[in-house]
Every structure is written in structure tokens, then in C-alpha cells.
């Protein structure tokens, strides 16, 4: 491999373009700048939704009114869900890190359709702004929950239509990103980079992209049908007009369950990327991990109705959807086993991204195992729509993807900005986040099993002790998040200069300067080895000392 670190070429952050100021960013077709655009906008939405979440937890501190009215609470959990799902987790890893890293990892100068890529960001921002505007229109923000279940979403007088349109537009952003990534991966890999020499994050993005393309149109159509129904009174889902509300739930989950895998697969990819670097050895079971991503994407598309086990489905439906739910957990379990095996006989150095990955593995395992409990039909019927489910998906989505995102932020921060972050505050932030997270969400499993339904503004006094613990957890977690972000922001200005490869990674993005030059690679690299080739560190007696 030739060295790709030309001395004077301007990096993408400082490159001169024909536009000045912010225009040089929001009209840039450079995949790296688009990645940063996504990052900034996504983090704004994330922090907003975090604040909503903290306020909701505060409301749950005591039964009855603590700080807000029921209507406010209902709009808060709706907005929290919509923002977290459509504006943070779905675009989070693929759009931010996928955009930034995919071309770098496969040795390309950009994605296949750079202008389409920019359009995706504009759609994302339009959708996000529309969601924000709907807050201030007369009628008030939507109060349906992020699931927009019919008939409630047809009857409520709140601004459901702008919220639905926002989700619809965001869907297109997601589809176009998926299309772009698939094409890029098929057409633009560097010479020598066969499918099984691709980094595993790329594999995860590839699987994710297929779900984005195949499943997202279903939600687009479904949300449009709700709009049509609300505006023109066509009876598709509304029982008063002869429609079927359960049909809506099927259509909704046909997208939204695979969407769960859009959210988690890239996180799994991040773990597979980071572990070998700090264990300084090749990943255990590369092909198994790659194939398991595809398996998750495929089986994950067929389990949607396990969100609906209490809806009154046929026995055949119950049987199949429960069985498939157990099957889809196998590839996820296999990934966890392979990750832990990757630590075996490694040479492990603990750094901040690695710590986040460890929290990820712990929390994702709990998320997965509680998912099994939810797959057990008899148990599901008891805990469906309770805090147990809330605990479960936060363990997967936040404990998994959220921590994966934190790991990715710290791991690729030097590459993105050419600066190192301060280590001690990052470790304190990690510790606070991990403790806070588990204090916040673990009591929810108990609450749920004891029968506390979700989306409840008020609750019976016997649940209070668990709610108090959970609320205290939310404060610890929130402080942890602040520490992490403030540290990164300060490091952006004051951090030490990062070398091209501060962690000793072997994938191609570490062969270019930090931050990377505009064109990424001076010369397209030729790939000969696998992505995690650490054989140079193996015992060679003359090199020890």
C-alpha cells in the first residue's frame, strides 16, 4: 500500500471552494462535509429529545402532577419518540459515520451520487424543520405517540398531518442514502477490495441500506394514507368508515420493525470495527459476522407482528411471528459471542472508544435477552405495552446504538477533526453515562413486570420507588452526556493535533491524513490484506524490547 499522506494538500475542513461561509458547507457535495452536516443537525435534535426525556422522567418522579399537565406529557413522549427515531437513531450512524467513512473505508473519493447525497441531507433538514414547525402551529404538537396508531391519530385535533409529512420526507432522505450506499459499495471499492476484505462497518451499512430501500417506502405509503384519510375521509384504517385499524398496525410495523435494524446494525458494525483495533488482533469469525448482518436484515423483515401479539391475531400468525422472533435473535447472539472471542489472546489496550464498546456489549446483551423474554408469547401478553418494553428497547437503542454512536464519536473524532480529545473527562463521562443509563432503565423491567403500563402520565403509588430510582438515573445520564459533549467541543478547539492513525487501525481511513484531504486518496490504494491484519504484532522475538 502506498502512503497516502501528501504534505501540503488542504484538508476537507479548510479547503477553498467557490462558496463562502456556511454555503461552503450546506451546498457541498463532499461526503465528509455532508457527514459533518448530518452530525451537527442530528446532535441538535438529539439534545432536544434528551431534554424532553429528562423532563418526562422528572414528571414521573411523583404520582399525579409533578411539573406538567397530561396533554404536555403526551406531546412530550410523542416528540421524544419522533425525534429520537426519525431524526437521531435512523440517520445517526449511517448518515453521519456512513457518509463520512464509507468512501474512505473502501478506498473511494466520494459516494457514487454526491449530489443525491446532498439532496438527502436537505430532505432530512426539511423534514426536521417541518417537525419543529408543527410544534408552533395552532392545534399544538402531535400527541399520538411516535407510532401514530389509528384511529386515535385520525381523531386527535393536534397537528398530526405536519408530523406525518415530516416523517414521510425523512423517509425519502433515508431511501436515497440507502440507494447511494449500495451503489457505492457495489461500484467503487478499491482494486483488490473483494467483498470479504471490506471492513465490517461497511457490511453493516450495506445490510442497513437494503432495509432502507425496501422497507421505508411502506411507511411512506402508510403515512400518506393516514393523511388522505384525515383530509378526505377515505375509509382505509378508520373503523367508522369501514376501515381496519389493525391493517394500519401491520403496515406501520412492516416498516418500523426493520427500521429497528436500520438503527442497530450500524451500531453492531461500529463494535466490530473498534474491537480488533484495541485488541490488536484480527476479528474472530469475520465471515460469520458479515453474514449475520445480512441474516438480521432478512429475518428482521419478517417479524413485524411481534409488536402486535395482543391485537387478536390468528394462531398461525402468533406461532410464526413468535418463532421468527427467536430465530432473528440468533445472528445477534452470534455477533456477541464472536466479539468476546475477539478479545481472546489479543493484546488489549483500554481507550475511551473501547470502554464505550464494552458498555455496548453489556447493555446490548441485556437488550437482546429481554427481547427473548418478549418473544415468549405467554410472557409477552403480560408485559406488552408496559415499562418492560420501554426498558427493552432503550437497552437496545440507547444502550446499544447510542453507546455505539458515542464509541464512534470518540474513535473517529481524531480522523474527522484532526484533534485528539481529552481522555480523563471522556472516561468520567463514560462512567457517568453507563451508571446513569443502567439506573435509569433497569428499574423499568421490574416496573413493567409488576404491571405499570407505558405512556402513563399518572401511576399508582405502589410503583413510585422504582420511578424515583429511574428518575435519579436520568440525571446521572444527562450529566454524563453533557460531560462527553463539552469535552468534545473543547477538544475541537484546544485538542492536541492528531496523527493520521492515533489508534493503530488497519482500515483504509487511517492511511490518509487527519483530517482527510478533499479528494481522500491521492492515489487510489490497492488492497492486498484483510481489514484487520495485525499479524505484524505476533511474536517475532527480534522485535520485542
Amino acid at each position: 500500500m502506498t502512503s497516502n499522506v501528501p504534505a501540503i494538500e488542504p484538508d476537507y475542513l479548510h479547503a477553498q471552494t467557490n462558496r463562502k461561509g456556511i454555503g461552503a458547507w450546506i451546498f457541498s457535495t463532499d461526503h465528509k462535509r455532508i457527514g459533518i452536516l448530518y452530525m451537527v443537525s442530528m446532535l441538535v435534535f438529539f439534545m432536544t429529545a434528551v431534554v424532553l426525556g429528562v423532563l418526562m422522567r422528572l414528571e414521573m418522579l411523583t404520582p399525579g402532577k409533578t411539573i406538567m399537565q397530561p396533554q404536555t406529557y403526551n406531546t412530550f413522549f410523542t416528540l421524544h419518540g419522533i425525534m429520537m427515531i426519525f431524526l437521531f437513531i435512523i440517520p445517526g450512524l449511517p448518515a453521519v459515520f456512513g457518509n463520512f467513512l464509507l468512501p474512505l473505508m473502501i478506498g473511494a473519493k466520494d459516494v457514487f451520487f454526491p449530489r443525491l447525497n446532498l439532496l438527502s441531507w436537505w430532505l432530512f433538514i426539511t423534514g426536521g424543520l417541518l417537525a419543529l414547525v408543527s410544534l408552533f402551529l395552532p392545534g399544538g404538537p402531535a400527541d399520538t405517540g411516535w407510532t401514530f396508531y389509528v384511529p386515535y391519530s385520525i381523531r386527535t385535533t393536534t397537528n398530526v398531518i405536519p408530523a406525518l409529512f415530516a416523517a414521510f420526507i425523512l423517509g425519502f432522505s433515508s431511501i436515497l442514502t440507502g440507494l447511494n450506499f449500495i451503489t457505492t459499495i457495489h461500484r467503487m471499492r478499491a482494486p483488490g477490495m473483494t467483498w470479504f476484505k471490506m471492513p465490517l462497518f461497511t457490511w453493516a451499512l450495506y445490510s442497513t441500506a437494503w432495509i432502507q430501500i425496501l422497507a421505508t417506502p411502506v411507511i411512506g405509503i402508510t403515512l400518506l394514507l393516514v393523511v388522505v384519510e384525515r383530509l378526505f375521509g377515505v375509509g382505509i384504517f378508520d373503523p367508522n368508515l369501514g376501515g381496519d385499524p389493525v391493517l394500519y398496525q401491520h403496515l406501520f410495523w412492516i416498516y418500523s420493525h426493520p427500521a429497528v435494524y436500520i438503527m442497530i446494525l450500524p451500531g453492531l458494525g461500529v463494535v466490530s470495527e473498534i474491537l480488533p483495533v484495541f485488541a490488536r488482533r484480527t476479528i474472530f469469525g469475520y465471515k460469520v459476522i458479515a453474514y449475520s448482518s445480512l441474516a438480521i436484515a432478512f429475518i428482521g423483515s419478517l417479524v413485524w407482528a411481534h409488536h402486535m401479539f395482543t391485537v387478536g391475531m390468528s394462531n398461525t400468525g402468533m406461532f410464526i411471528f413468535s418463532l421468527l422472533t427467536f430465530l432473528v435473535s440468533i445472528p445477534s447472539a452470534i455477533k456477541v459471542f464472536n466479539w468476546i472471542a475477539t478479545l481472546y489472546k489479543g493484546s488489549i489496550k483500554i481507550e475511551v472508544p473501547f470502554l464505550f464498546v464494552l458498555s455496548f456489549i453489556f447493555q446490548f446483551s441485556i437488550g437482546g435477552l429481554t427481547g427473548l423474554m418478549l418473544g415468549v408469547l405467554a410472557v409477552n401478553i403480560h408485559v406488552q405495552d408496559t415499562y418492560f418494553v420501554v426498558g427493552h428497547f432503550h437497552y437496545v437503542m440507547f444502550g446499544g446504538t447510542g453507546f455505539g454512536l458515542m464509541a464512534a464519536m470518540h474513535f473517529w473524532f481524531p480522523k474527522m477533526f484532526g484533534k485528539m480529545f481529552k481522555k480523563t473527562p471522556a472516561i468520567i463521562g463514560w462512567l457517568l453515562m453507563t451508571i446513569g443509563f443502567n439506573t435509569l432503565y433497569f428499574p423499568m423491567f421490574i416496573l413493567g413486570y409488576l404491571g405499570m403500563p407505558r405512556r402513563y402520565y399518572d401511576y399508582l403509588p405502589q410503583y413510585q420507588s422504582y420511578h424515583i430510582v429511574s428518575t435519579v438515573g436520568s440525571w446521572i445520564l444527562f450529566i454524563g452526556i453533557l460531560v462527553i459533549f463539552i469535552n468534545l467541543l473543547i477538544s475541537l478547539k484546544k485538542g492536541m493535533k492528531a496523527s493520521a492513525n492515533p489508534w493503530g487501525g488497519k482500515t483504509l481511513e487511517w492511511t490518509v491524513a487527519s483530517p482527510p484531504p478533499v479528494e481522500n486518496f491521492h492515489e487510489i490504494p490497492v488492497v492486498e490484506k484483510g481489514p484487520y491484519d495485525y499479524s505484524e504484532y505476533e511474536i517475532k522475538p527480534e522485535l520485542i524490547k
Binding site: A279, S322, Y344, L372, I381, H382, Q384, P453, E538
Partner: protein, 219 residues
């Protein structure tokens, strides 16, 4: 929570504990391995890694063992579900109507209440109807729940052994006062139930016909 409030309570709890037990063991094993490897193979102790690409027998082992365990869990869940949907013959039918944000229970003779009164040890079949949006009838102590959906009849059944009362919650988000859509199921012994049923019928001027067979009331 009570273990014998309904025929399902104990089964669901046992199944849950089995799955929790297996899961805890797996989690514990994974975490011990993880922490042990991190300490044992730290860069200080083990400066030179060994690259192991994979191991097919190992991959097969940790695919097949979970598969077998998962199929066992699936089976337990399925059996429990069958219990929950198999309504015993002769179960007494009560019609449930949900609206935002209240429950109404209608007995065979037309008596309507907002609290569900049932006789002990008698299978009760609920026929669920909604007047507006989706609701879900949830009795945590009985470990059962079923969605109540407009324009669609769902059914559920239970029986309960003791004279006691339990919470009924709405578990499907239904708007402003969703969290206040609570009521109670009150189980009375047979004679107590008939006594109540008779009085309620008279009060609402409905014809009273005993719901339970006479020998049962005497028991």
C-alpha cells in the same frame, strides 16, 4: 404479585423466571469471559497477540445451543398462549365496552356496571368492544391483556379463586386521560355474587336470572 390470582399467573411467572434464569447465566458467563480476557490479555501482560480467524466447530456450537434453548422458550410461550385462548365450555359471557376513558361491563340480562363483578372459581369470557379508539384491557395480577379495537370483537377469559379485587388498566395509549382509565375486577364468592347481581338487576330494572347454577351457589 400474587401467583394464583388466575390460571395463568403461575405459568407466566414460572416461564418468565426460567427465561430470566437462563438469560442471567448467559449474561454472567459472557461478562466474566469479557472481563477475564481484558485483564488476562492486556497489552502489558500479553504484548503479542495471536491472530485467530475463527473456529467453525465453535461457531456451530454457539449457533446450535442457543437455537435449542430458544426453541424451548418458544414452546413454553406457545403452550401458555394456548391456555390463554382456550376458553372453557360454559364460561359466562360479559360484554366489555371501552371508550375514552372508561370501561363498561354488560351482563347477560343487560345490567351495566363500570366495575367488573365476577363470581370466584367461574370461567368468565369477556367480549371486547370499543366505541372510539384502540384500548387494551389489562389485568396485571392475572397476567393477561387483550386489545380492544373498534369494529372488531376480541375475546379473553379468566377465572379467579379468591374473593378479592384487582386493578384493570388500559394498556393501549388512548389520549389525554389514558393513565386514569383504571377500574377494578371484584371477585365475590358465589352467593355474594348472586346477591349483588340480584340487587343490581332490580336497581336497573332488568329481569333477574341467576348466572350460576344453584348447586354452585350452595357450595
Amino acid at each position: 404479585m400474587l401467583q394464583d390470582a388466575s390460571p395463568f399467573s403461575e405459568y407466566v411467572d414460572t416461564t418468565f423466571l426460567i427465561v430470566v434464569g437462563i438469560s442471567s447465566l448467559v449474561l454472567l458467563g459472557l461478562m466474566i469471559a469479557m472481563v477475564y480476557f481484558i485483564i488476562r490479555y492486556s497489552r502489558k501482560r500479553n504484548p503479542n497477540p495471536t491472530n485467530i480467524d475463527g473456529n467453525v466447530p465453535l461457531e456451530l456450537t454457539w449457533t446450535i445451543i442457543p437455537l435449542v434453548l430458544f426453541m424451548g422458550m418458544f414452546y413454553l410461550g406457545w403452550q401458555g398462549y394456548l391456555k390463554e385462548i382456550t376458553v372453557p365450555e360454559g364460561a359466562h359471557l360479559i360484554k366489555v365496552t371501552a371508550r375514552m376513558w372508561a370501561w363498561s361491563f354488560e351482563y347477560p340480562n343487560g345490567v351495566k356496571t363500570d366495575t367488573l363483578y365476577v363470581p370466584v372459581n367461574t370461567p368468565i369470557k369477556l367480549s371486547l368492544h370499543s366505541l372510539d379508539v384502540n384500548h387494551s384491557l389489562y389485568i396485571p395480577e392475572f397476567r393477561i391483556k387483550k386489545d380492544v379495537i373498534p369494529n372488531r370483537e376480541n375475546v379473553m377469559w379468566f377465572k379467579t379463586p379468591r374473593a378479592a379485587s384487582y386493578d384493570i388498566a388500559c394498556a393501549e395509549y388512548c389520549g389525554l386521560n389514558h393513565s386514569y382509565m383504571y377500574t377494578k375486577v371484584v371477585a365475590k364468592d358465589s352467593s355474594g355474587f348472586e346477591q349483588w347481581y340480584k340487587e343490581a338487576s332490580q336497581k336497573q330494572s332488568k329481569p333477574y336470572l341467576p348466572m350460576l347454577a344453584e348447586e354452585k351457589v350452595k357450595e
